[in-house]
């Protein structure tokens, strides 16, 4: 910064030399204020999304910079929400990027008193083994009247109302093929 700039950046100098004789307006603007830009203006991309809370289905715009979500707000194009969000929808940034979220697999062994860490691949492999075993244990070919059942009562699933349609579809397809019938979600709760 040259000396001239340095002096002219001084509020009192600006108050005396500029139009702002109050010294509380244009003359008082700080360096940060001069640089100030809304962070949404610096987003690398704006991704169209839908609020994950209730079933109104408000439109959301997700602002991303350097691979991180920097802001989530209402999508003004939506005929449902017209850009508005409730307090929960307005908290989407905290929901998705806040410290509340865990990002590691945790494991509690039988009779264990504490969580342990487990890598994801191992966890997936263990779960697959357990599904196969529980399926077999709870398998029923037919009922006591000899009617075919071809099912397992060995495992169950609860959830889906917060999931995407595509996710529910794969779960329903896989679990049904495995013979599981106790597949439920919040719709009945």
């Amino acid at each position: 910064m040259g000396i001239g700039d340095w002096v002219s950046s001084w509020p009192v100098y600006r108050q005396l030399t500029g139009a702002d004789r109050t010294g509380r307006g244009a003359a008082a603007r700080s360096a940060r204020t001069e640089r100030l830009r809304p962070r949404v203006a610096d987003a690398d991309k704006v991704v169209k999304s839908i609020c994950p809370y209730c079933a109104v289905g408000c439109g959301q715009n997700v602002y991303v910079r350097d691979g991180k979500v920097t802001q989530v707000e209402g999508d003004p194009d939506s005929p449902i929400s017209r850009g508005r969000l409730c307090p929960k929808g307005s908290a989407t940034l905290q929901l998705t990027t806040g410290p509340n979220r865990l990002d590691t697999v945790l494991y509690r062994r039988p009779h264990g008193t504490e969580w342990e860490h487990l890598d994801l691949d191992t966890a997936m492999d263990m779960i697959a083994d357990r599904v196969i075993a529980a399926r077999l244990t709870g398998w029923e070919w037919e009922d006591d009247q000899g009617r075919p059942l071809r099912r397992t009562m060995g495992f169950a699933s609860l959830g889906g109302a917060t999931l995407d349609n595509e996710e529910n579809y794969l779960f329903k397809k896989l679990f049904t093929a495995l013979g599981a019938i106790q597949i439920e979600n919040q719709a009945r709760i």
């Binding site: 108050q15 005396l16 509380r24 603007r29 700080s30 809304p38 707000e73 209402g74 508005r84 307090p87």
Partner: protein, 306 residues
């Protein structure tokens, strides 16, 4: 009234921008509170069940720039104190008392209304008023508080030194120092956003358009029409608050449509800029400052050349 931006050194400033908060359509959802905090990264400021209806925010402060008040009442309404009806009862002290108190000795509920008329639940989102004559701005010795080209009043966090002079100056009790930080904080009317043509976060989120943002002139016109319509519809309680350039703060940049006296919402009925007598004082101070400045600049320049 002169445009506060024009007298603050902005050549050909944009129209003065502000909020019109129409409490008659507020549903008390508090989206404004959350949207404000998310945008401005304002910290959470405590988990406290206040017992003041559904208002667990309490008041505007350094970490609450929008505050939704909830008032349960019967109509017609007797005289009330702002928000809380029992000035002798500290509701926050009621919590730890437990339930051992026999009911006949128990303190009154702060939400207990009178017995006449229908139950009414008023909700209103309060915010910094961005006064035309802003005392906080007047007393700020560092130039941290400044008037923007939109006529709003904003704290510059890189300048504020936490002196705290602004806090008692505010006739509404809006601006506040943040614990552990020391600096003063309040609503900026999303200065960064409006500078880029965006709506402030609270107004954008508001589901029912209770919070409206726009050129103050337009908002005042719209608000007058709204009051008229409400009166025609029999809502004779409707009145504006903070819209009048002749009031004690020269008119607020954020004004309200209320359904009862301002006191009911915890708003001062007749706020007056605490620095009303300041302008004459300031002129003297400015002259003195100019003298000092001359000396200081000389000293600096010579010092640098050396």
């Amino acid at each position: 009234m002169t445009d506060p931006a024009a007298v603050s050194g902005y050549e050909d400033p944009p129209p003065r921008m502000g909020f019109f908060t129409d409490t008659s359509v507020c549903i008390g959802c508090k989206a404004c509170e959350v949207a404000c905090k998310e945008w401005n990264a304002v910290p959470e400021d405590g988990l406290l069940l206040t017992g003041m209806s559904y208002d667990n925010t309490g008041s505007l402060n350094a970490s609450t720039w929008r505050h939704v008040a909830f008032i349960e009442q019967r109509k017609p309404l007797a005289l009330q104190d702002p928000g809380v009806m029992h000035p002798d009862v500290d509701v926050l002290e009621m919590a730890p008392l437990g339930s051992s108190t026999p009911p006949e000795q128990a303190l009154m509920t702060p939400t207990a209304p009178g017995q006449e008329g229908d139950l009414r639940w008023l909700m209103a989102s309060d915010v910094c008023k961005h006064c035309t004559h802003a005392a906080c701005l007047d007393v700020c010795p560092t130039g941290s508080l400044f008037r923007t080209e939109f006529g709003t009043v904003v704290v510059q966090e890189d300048i504020c030194n936490g002196c705290g002079y602004c806090i008692p100056a505010c006739p509404y009790g809006v601006i506040d120092q943040r614990k552990g930080d020391g600096r003063a904080w309040k609503c900026t009317l999303c200065y960064d956003r409006i500078g880029d043509g965006l709506e402030p976060a609270c107004a954008k989120a508001c589901p029912t358009d209770s919070i409206q943002y726009g050129p103050l002139d337009e908002l005042r016109e719209r608000a007058a029409g709204r009051v008229e319509r409400l009166h025609e519809a029999g809502v004779t309680d409707a009145r504006l608050y903070g819209h009048d350039p002749a009031d004690g703060v020269g008119g607020a940049g954020a004004f309200f449509l209320l359904l009862d006296d301002p006191e009911v919402y915890g708003l001062p009925p007749d706020p007056i800029v605490t620095t009303r007598d300041l302008p004459s004082m300031w002129r003297h101070a400015a002259a003195a400052a100019a003298g000092l400045l001359g000396a200081a600049v000389l000293a600096c320049l010579t010092g640098r050349r050396r």
